[in-house]
């Protein structure tokens, strides 16, 4: 792969995208391997076999431009490829489908040279024109892409003068665009011929340029991918730049964590994703199973609907913030394998404001009660607060993974006289229902590689989409816009510090925690790594027998 020298503006950008803490656990956590099967790695890799991954959620669709779902992105990252990849060792963005690229002095013209010989699974060659159309489709309101505007909003227009040259003309400089372009799945080129052919069914018959080809999807059960024999454009982060070694890659959807472990034990899956700290500890010393870990690239939080009659009162939201004992949650649910979130950003992400540990709401039941008293909520005979005959009662949307956290929160809020009813739904349905604003509180988390993720959740333009809290704050909007357009690192940091202070002050959310994610890999499968952000590195993986 030819890699033109990085030009000076680019250096700055690279600095901007650095995600410090997140990488530290990716590169080499003290106690565990990031690469599975170390003890056996002397054996010769060989072709064939099936790698089966157990995952708790099922994608909503595999059309990457119609989903904001992590499960979908995880599968999509294997089916597709993107312009860049992120090297956690050097904390650099490096070329993948883009062979080389330049960015103009004014930051407004980005020119990419695409690799040649890249072909979609359906046989259509990847051209700059297709990439252009992919992005235009993502921005087309008709596509209703939940992430399109977030990912490509800075782009004014795109040119594709020849098959290999792709030019972005930006409305304004964007600090986030390059980060987006290495995101594992959601900026990948898609076969427009396939979309035309399949129409609405494309989401269940995706066609990309990645190392794995979509084979079948049994709803509620599994998605099967097969090796893309034509894949020759692997990036430099892996040894094997050709087709993957295993024949098949199967994602099995297993909601129940216990069933997931049992499935790993019995050999019906090779990789158990996102297992609990408690389970992980049992396998630390195992010879048959390797533990991989990664600090989550994003945080978990409780979001409140600011248009809700009760929660529109900032004092109530603050009281909720003070009533939640995050320490207990991290200790009890995560067994300490994670950290308390002070601000809406995880401490590992660029832009995190360390001062938030000082100014955030501390667990203080007395203070919370006082706030509610002052807001006119009085305790009735059942210990639930009332105001004008209406009880202080809210519904909390939750899904399987949140079972314990939601019940702890229910108990903690009861302490301050708030009645919480937990509504358990499927994860995708929670996002959907919350997006429509038909909720009071919801548990939510995100994974992202840029602090501008906050604009997805808090910018007023995202109401009806991911701005579940329906935050409509002009000051915040302006700051978020400034944050995404500012290139200077220190300047940008300051803006995000301001944003965090504002969001914490307004108490739209209760930031809960940043968890460590644990993955168990059966040593039958060798060479499995964790990609930055999410997903697995399977390019050098192979099945022993």
């Amino acid at each position: 792969m030819k890699n033109r020298l990085v030009t000076s503006p680019l250096l700055i950008i690279v600095c901007l995208l650095v995600l410090l803490g997140g990488c530290s656990s990716v590169s080499a956590p003290a106690n565990s391997a990031t690469e599975a099967g170390k003890p056996e790695s002397t054996a010769e890799p060989k072709k064939g076999g099936t790698i089966t991954i157990g995952y708790m959620d099922e994608p909503d669709t595999l059309d990457m431009y119609k989903s904001a779902n992590l499960a979908a992105a995880m599968v999509g990252s294997e089916i597709g490829a993107r312009l860049f990849y992120y090297d956690p060792k050097t904390q650099d963005v490096k070329p993948y489908l883009a062979e080389s690229y330049t960015i103009s002095e004014d930051w407004k013209t980005w020119t990419f040279q695409l690799q040649s010989g890249v072909v979609f699974h359906d046989g259509t060659p990847l051209t700059a024109a297709i990439y252009k159309q992919t992005i235009e489709r993502a921005l087309d309101p008709e596509t209703a892409s939940p992430l399109g505007e977030y990912l490509f909003g800075a782009i004014q227009s795109i040119d594709a003068p020849d098959d290999k040259t792709l030019i972005f003309h930006l409305k304004k400089p964007s600090a986030q665009l390059l980060t987006n372009l290495w995101e594992p799945a959601v900026t990948q080129p898609v076969s427009l011929a396939a979309i035309e052919k399949m129409g609405a069914d494309y989401g269940r018959n995706p066609v990309g340029v990645g190392p794995w080809k979509f084979d079948s999807w049994k709803t509620g059960e599994s998605i099967t991918l097969v090796r893309n024999e034509g894949y020759q454009w692997g990036n430099a982060s892996v040894k094997n730049q050709g087709p993957p070694l295993a024949d098949k890659l199967v994602y099995k959807f297993i909601k129940d964590s216990q069933t997931m472990i049992a499935a790993l034990e019995s050999g019906s899956i090779d990789i158990a994703a996102n297992v609990s700290a408690k389970e992980m500890k049992k396998y630390k010393e195992s010879n048959e199973v390797t533990v991989l870990e990664r600090m989550k690239w994003g945080s978990s939080f409780l979001e409140m609907n600011t248009e809700n009659e009760i929660l529109q009162d900032i004092q109530v939201r603050r009281a909720v913030n003070m009533a939640i004992n995050k320490d207990a949650i991290v200790k009890g649910v995560l067994l300490g394998e994670g950290e308390i979130a002070h601000s809406p950003l995880p401490s590992s992400l660029f832009g995190y404001d360390p001062a938030s540990a000082e100014y955030d709401y501390k667990y203080n039941v007395e203070e919370a009660r006082k706030l509610l008293d002052a807001a006119g909520w009085t305790v009735n005979a059942q210990g639930i607060r009332e105001k004008d005959g209406k009880p202080l009662a809210v519904e909390l949307l939750s899904w399987d993974a949140w079972t314990r956290t939601s019940q702890l929160i229910q108990g903690l809020l009861k302490e301050i006289g708030m009645d919480v009813k937990i509504i358990n739904l499927d994860a995708a349905t929670v996002v959907d229902v919350a997006g429509k604003g038909s909720f009071d509180m919801a548990l939510m988390n995100y994974t992202d590689n840029d602090p501008n993720a906050l604009s997805l959740f808090l910018h007023s333009s995202q109401i009806g989409s991911l701005n579940h809290s329906r935050v409509h704050n002009k000051e915040l909007d302006a700051l978020l816009e400034k944050g995404s357009a500012t290139l200077d690192k220190d300047e940008r940091k300051k803006i995000y510090a301001e944003i965090q202070r504002l969001v914490v002050d307004q108490a739209y959310w209760v930031p809960l925690y940043v968890e460590k994610e644990f993955f168990l890999v059966n040593n039958r499968v060798q060479g499995v790594t964790l990609e930055p952000m999410y997903g697995f590195g399977l390019q050098d993986s192979w099945v022993k027998d």
Binding site: D256, S257, Q258, I261, A262, K278, E279, K282, N325, A328, K331, G332, V333, T403, R404, S406, Q407, L408, Q410, G411, K414, K421, I422, N424
Partner: protein, 298 residues
């Protein structure tokens, strides 16, 4: 899971025709060893359900943040659950919840099922046909499926679970009662009442129902067992009692995620459900044997 419990018991009981004088009932029950022991056991369980809140060592809803997933110990006899609540206390409160659901849902079944069954048998003709076709239709759905559909629409909650289970058991109960009532209808004294001009309603309430009382008792007992299984099944799926309510099925659901690391969480509620249903079924069997000596002799 049970659905057919009902239909099968039909075979066993339908042949019984002679009714015992009512005052002999208790004596007969006490004569049967099986009945006596199951009766006593059931009584103990009910007692525990009633006095549970007073003898529970901890608040069933309060988390001890220092004691998540603790093994059974002197402090927590049955251990703690995944968010540090005392399992024993939750079991005791749960007995009350489980029994309430069972009693309430069976009450719905028995009242409506008896009304439909007796009306159908006594009036016969078009009404009988219509009611029975409707019952056939509802019978074509497994009870739990019917209950799921109802809960899906009404939303999951304890009350809705009771309603769903109560309604879903009506058809089979009504069919059984109709069968029993038919035999009474053809007996001489009903004819006699009718000939002296008693109203239909009077005959149904004061002649038909008292004469099928023993059948009612047996079926009701058997349906209680089924109702407990169904309500805890809904809880197990997550569509019955909602957190933090300590209901045994719901607790099983919460415990199933921790089977390997905290065996006690799924073990005790499961045992409790099995035990109470077993006892109720034993009692039902024993009562059936008493009322139907022919079946007993087999």
């Amino acid at each position: 899971m049970r659905v057919l419990g009902k239909a099968v018991h039909t075979n066993a009981v339908k042949e019984r025709t002679t009714a015992l004088p009512r005052f002999e009932l208790l004596g007969k029950v006490m004569q049967s060893k099986k009945a006596k022991y199951s009766f006593v056991l059931l009584f103990i369980i009910i007692l525990l359900g009633i006095i549970g809140p007073w003898i529970a060592p901890h608040d069933p809803l309060e988390s001890n943040y220092e004691a998540f997933l603790q093994e059974p110990s002197a402090e927590y006899w049955l251990g703690t659950d995944s968010i540090g609540r005392d399992l024993l206390s939750r079991m005791l409160y749960g007995a009350r919840v489980t029994l309430t659901v069972a009693v309430m849902s069976v009450a719905i079944t028995v009242v409506l099922g008896t009304v439909i069954g007796v009306t159908s048998a006594y009036l016969g003709g078009f009404i009988d046909n219509l009611l029975m076709r409707i019952m056939d239709m509802l019978l074509a759905l497994p009870g739990i499926v019917l209950a799921l559909a109802i809960v899906a629409v009404l939303g999951p909650s304890l009350t809705n679970a009771m309603i769903a289970i109560g309604i879903s058991s009506i058809p089979s109960f009504a069919l059984l009662i109709r069968g029993a009532a038919l035999t009474i209808k053809s007996s001489g004294y009903v004819e006699a009442s009718r000939s002296i001009g008693s109203s239909n309603r009077w005959i149904m309430v004061f002649q038909v129902i008292p004469n099928i009382a023993h059948v009612l008792i047996v079926y009701t007992t058997l349906f209680v067992g089924a109702a407990i299984l169904d309500s805890s099944a809904l809880g197990f799926i997550g569509l019955g009692a909602q957190p933090p309510t300590p209901e045994w099925g719901t607790m099983l659901n919460e415990g199933k995620g921790f089977i390997t690391e905290a065996w006690w969480l799924a073990t005790f509620p499961g045992l409790a459900i099995t035990l109470i249903v077993f006892v109720v079924n034993l009692l039902g069997d024993a009562l059936r044997d008493i009322f139907d000596p022919r079946a007993a002799s087999k």
